[in-house]
């Protein structure tokens, strides 16, 4: 059942971009849009957006690199372990929970590690899979999105994102313990 569902969803994913591209072009043609000129005109901005992101991305990813490589993150993990244990989070899942908002590739690495050590069908394996799938790399998203328009005062966006991360990470633990 789940396999059929995944296969179906995967097919939608594979078809989406080509179908959308063809659909938009046909619609634009029928509305007599000069499609080639309009496409090129729009696409021109792509380069500027990419370049505009660079300083924001360098700032945040370098900050995170310092924090992780120095062992400061490990210390933070040890410090908050009693709190997360109390909330029912397995100790092995804590590094995953802390890295997830900071680094997508880092979290993916930790998840693979845990899955290979404990097995994908263990409780902890399911918990980290859920954490990975149901949350986003908040810091990366904020740097890229705000960077693309040159916004440096992010106001409450960061806190709202982090609150949502905490909610997602904790409910991943709780719902997994109810379901599996």
């Amino acid at each position: 059942m789940a396999d059929i569902l995944t296969g179906f969803l995967q097919t939608i994913s594979d078809w989406a971009i080509p179908i959308l591209a063809a659909g938009i072009v046909m619609l634009a043609l029928s509305r007599r849009v000069k499609i080639y000129e309009a496409f090129v005109e729009g696409a021109k901005e792509g380069f500027n957006v990419g370049v505009r992101i660079i300083p924001y991305l360098v700032a945040i990813l370098c900050g995170i690199a310092f924090f992780r490589a120095s062992g400061a993150l490990d210390l933070l993990t040890t410090l908050i372990a009693p709190i997360t244990n109390f909330l029912g989070m397995p100790g092995e899942a804590l590094p995953m929970a802390l890295v997830r908002p900071l680094s997508g590739s880092g979290a993916l690495g930790i998840m693979s590690d845990i899955i290979n050590t404990h097995g994908p069908d263990s409780y902890i394996g399911r918990v980290v899979s859920t954490m990975m799938g149901s949350t986003e790399t908040t810091f990366y998203v904020l740097a890229v999105y705000f960077g693309s328009v040159g916004v440096s005062k992010v106001r409450h966006a960061l806190w709202a994102g982090l609150i949502a991360d905490v909610a997602g990470l904790l409910s991943a633990v709780w719902i997994c313990s109810l379901v599996f």
């Binding site: 994913s13 992101i53 120095s70 899979s129 106001r155 966006a157 709202a160 949502a164």
Partner: protein, 202 residues
Amino acid sequence: MNFIWAFLIIAGVLFAAINGKMAECTQAVIDAAKGSVELAIGLIGIMAFWLGLMRLAEEAGLVRFLSRILKPILRPLFPSIPSDDPALGAMVANFAANILGLGNSATALGLKAMIELERLNPHKKTASNAMCTFLAINTSSLTLIPATVIAIRASAGSANPAEVIGVIILVTSISTVVAITAVKILEKLPAFKIKPEEDQNG
């Protein structure tokens, strides 16, 4: 952001000194700087592709059409955006791409939405309420197909790699609801009020 960034760097350097990890730190920061540029450059192609297609969709009236039909849902979330503004259509395109798991295409459409939101933003260097709401929804994740997770589980020999999909969809819905609630409460707090900008020409 100032505080968090300072914290990451100062705590990092301090602990690198205590733990004797200065060499690792140096290497990590060099790699991160290089990686950031590669990430940004890697986005340019797909960015150009989607910005081009979105221009077609705009000129054909598709973006405004999307904005208009989804107005009932979007209005309470983004009260400051005029009801048939292309910004709404671009945000919808980003949400849809995220739900379908289109990765970098979703990012490209999201950046298009940010450009539209910035056009409406009177304080060019400060995030508007609409931007914060948009990003809160975005960072809470909107996945329907966690393709990477399923692939890793399958390669580790899981008996049923896709069994986590239901839980993931449930958890991601919870975190999205929390994100929207949090952003709507936080935007009213005095600490996050928009302050006048000293430098208007950014």
